[in-house]
Amino acid sequence: MDNANKHLPRRKRSVRLTLALMGAGAASTLAGCGDSSPETLSNVQFDDTESYRSVEDCVAGGIYTRKACEAAYDQALEDVPHYRTQSQCEEEHGEDACQTAPHTNSGSGSWFMPAMMGYMVGNMTASSSRGHMVNRVYQEPVYRTRDNQGDWSAATSSASSRMKGVESSMRTTIRTHNRAVRNSSYSTSRSGFGSRSSARGGFGS
């Protein structure tokens, strides 16, 4: 006899459940366990990138809301390389290039970073590994370096090449992934399924 299990209540239900895709936030607190797989993006595309010298400049541009401008700025700030000492920072980016980093989420104590000049903001679309389309604001900081010496157009051009780097590295992984998609002289026909759907409403039963 299996006495070890004797006093355990027999359960007909699962011990814990969670959702990965539908309204994720609430679910993980409810069920006490997080997503099982990290979200990965493919087919990444950046469009309509604009460069701004400040949050106010971004708001004045009229494309993004103040909230989006501020959020993108904060994130861009985070993405600037940070250093523990002024000299480490200057070694990398040149004399007088660095300043004390404003209070960010990157930990306690003071940090140093090359001077923030502005940021680039664009639209990113991508396919998520969770099966849906992702459409979000993407940003890239514009900051002073040894090469650009604080010149705006040089700084924005290096920021935009960083963005292109991200875009193409994320695309490369996809291209190998989707090798089966070939150029073809034939066109795709659609609407071959679902012809009577409007007449019958849903198909669940």
Partner: protein, 388 residues
């Protein structure tokens, strides 16, 4: 089996919204109801529902085998001839199924009776598998129901297991998911299944049924971005697919479909007379026959159902007492069956129907739907249950 009134959880509608349950109210009418729950004993669940569900499921698998061996039966069930090869090869190669739901009439005392199988495009799985479970956990925590309550519900756990199993059998762990456009409930059901697939490590992109593409020279169907579809879950019935323009291409392309083509045999009410013929007198089956003349008026104590119909549409019944009930609908283009009338239990104004879920080949949970009428429709309500 009791129906017990209970206080609703505070702010459950906000929670439902947060959890992606947007159809808890449909056209202003409540669909999810938690002002009462059904209570079963463990014996009722295990002996009267779980075990019979697995036994009936086993009988269904035997029936598929018999139908696959017979051209005459495939023909009788209106499976178009161009699909026979796909149906048979998907069955004989052991292509796994994902899930199915049996609708049972059960009152807590007698034998549960199989009213019908929803084995191709069943819905209400999110409410049964997830939201009902959340209700139980919260209602116990908030002291609304006894703390030692349980529920017959490992549906989601089994779904994730089934997707993991299917994922291992695919060349790459990716399965597309699909439903028709402009239907919130179908879309939400599919989103939930995508959610389970992702939790099982299977990539789960979505494509609308209408956007599935075909291209000369491609071995697979294509999604909206022209990517080949290796495997796809469709919340769209086989009999409709077979009738559609692309239907004849299904046997010619390498795309794997879920549910597999052999499920067309079980999503057809013509299976009910066959199950009765091959298992006559089985305590969980109702007498059923092919209806040779559907124009004849229905006799007392019988129910007439079309081969293909969903959500109670085009069903007609006359009780032994002569009361007549029917639901109109669009499913007028298929043969009919007759099934002996069996009363569903009534609690107050409502008739309760038990949906017993099978995932893989295991009975793993129930969901209860209520309707004022004797025919359960898409406007019926979902009510949670407990075991105590």
């Amino acid at each position: 089996m009791l129906k017990i009134p209970v206080r609703e959880r505070k702010a459950w509608k906000e929670l439902a919204k947060d959890l992606g349950f947007h159809f808890h109210t449909i056209d202003g009418e409540a669909y999810w109801k938690e002002e009462a729950y059904y209570q079963f004993t463990l014996r009722q669940v295990e002996e009267d529902i779980e075990a019979p569900t697995e036994e009936l499921h086993e009988m269904c698998m035997e029936a598929v085998e018999r139908v696959c061996r017979s051209d005459a039966l495939l023909d009788k069930l209106c499976v178009p001839e161009f699909m026979w090869e796909s149906v048979r090869s998907s069955w004989w190669s052991g292509q796994p199924q994902l899930y199915g739901r049996m609708d049972l009439a059960y009152d807590g005392k007698g034998k549960a009776k199989l009213l019908e199988l929803n084995y191709d495009t069943p819905t209400s799985i999110y409410e049964a598998g997830f939201f009902q479970w959340v209700w139980l956990e919260q209602a116990m925590e908030q002291g609304l129901i006894p703390w030692q309550a349980d529920q017959f519900n490992s549906i989601q756990e089994k779904l994730i297991g089934a997707f993991a199993h299917i994922g291992q059998r695919l060349a790459t762990p990716e399965m597309h998911f699909s439903s028709i456009k402009d239907h919130v409930e179908d879309r939400a059901t599919v989103e939930y299944l995508q959610d389970c697939a992702i939790q099982a490590g299977v990539d789960a992109p979505f494509v609308y049924i209408e956007d599935i593409g075909l291209r000369e020279g491609e071995r697979h169907f294509l999604d909206h971005e022209d990517k080949p579809i290796q495997a796809i879950f469709k919340l769209y019935p086989w009999e409709e697919m077979a009738d559609d323009e692309f239907g004849s291409q299904v046997p010619k392309r390498d795309t794997h479909w879920f549910e597999p083509p052999w499920k067309t045999i079980l999503s057809n009410k013509g299976i009910l007379p066959l199950l009765w013929e091959w298992n006559e007198g089985h305590p969980n089956l109702l007498p059923a026959y092919f209806d040779d003349d559907p124009r004849q008026s229905l006799k007392s104590g019988w129910v007439r159902k079309p081969f293909f119909s969903r959500e109670g549409s085009n069903i007609e019944l006359v009780t032994p007492g002569g009361e007549r009930e029917s639901v109109a609908g669009p499913y007028t283009d298929s043969p009919h069956i007759l099934q002996a009338y069996h009363p569903m239990p009534r609690f107050g104004e409502e008739h309760a129907l038990i949906g017993s879920w099978v995932v893989g080949d295991r009975a793993c949970g129930i969901g209860i739907r209520e309707d004022k009428g004797r025919i359960t429709k898409d406007t019926s309500c979902f009510v949670p249950h407990i075991i105590l």
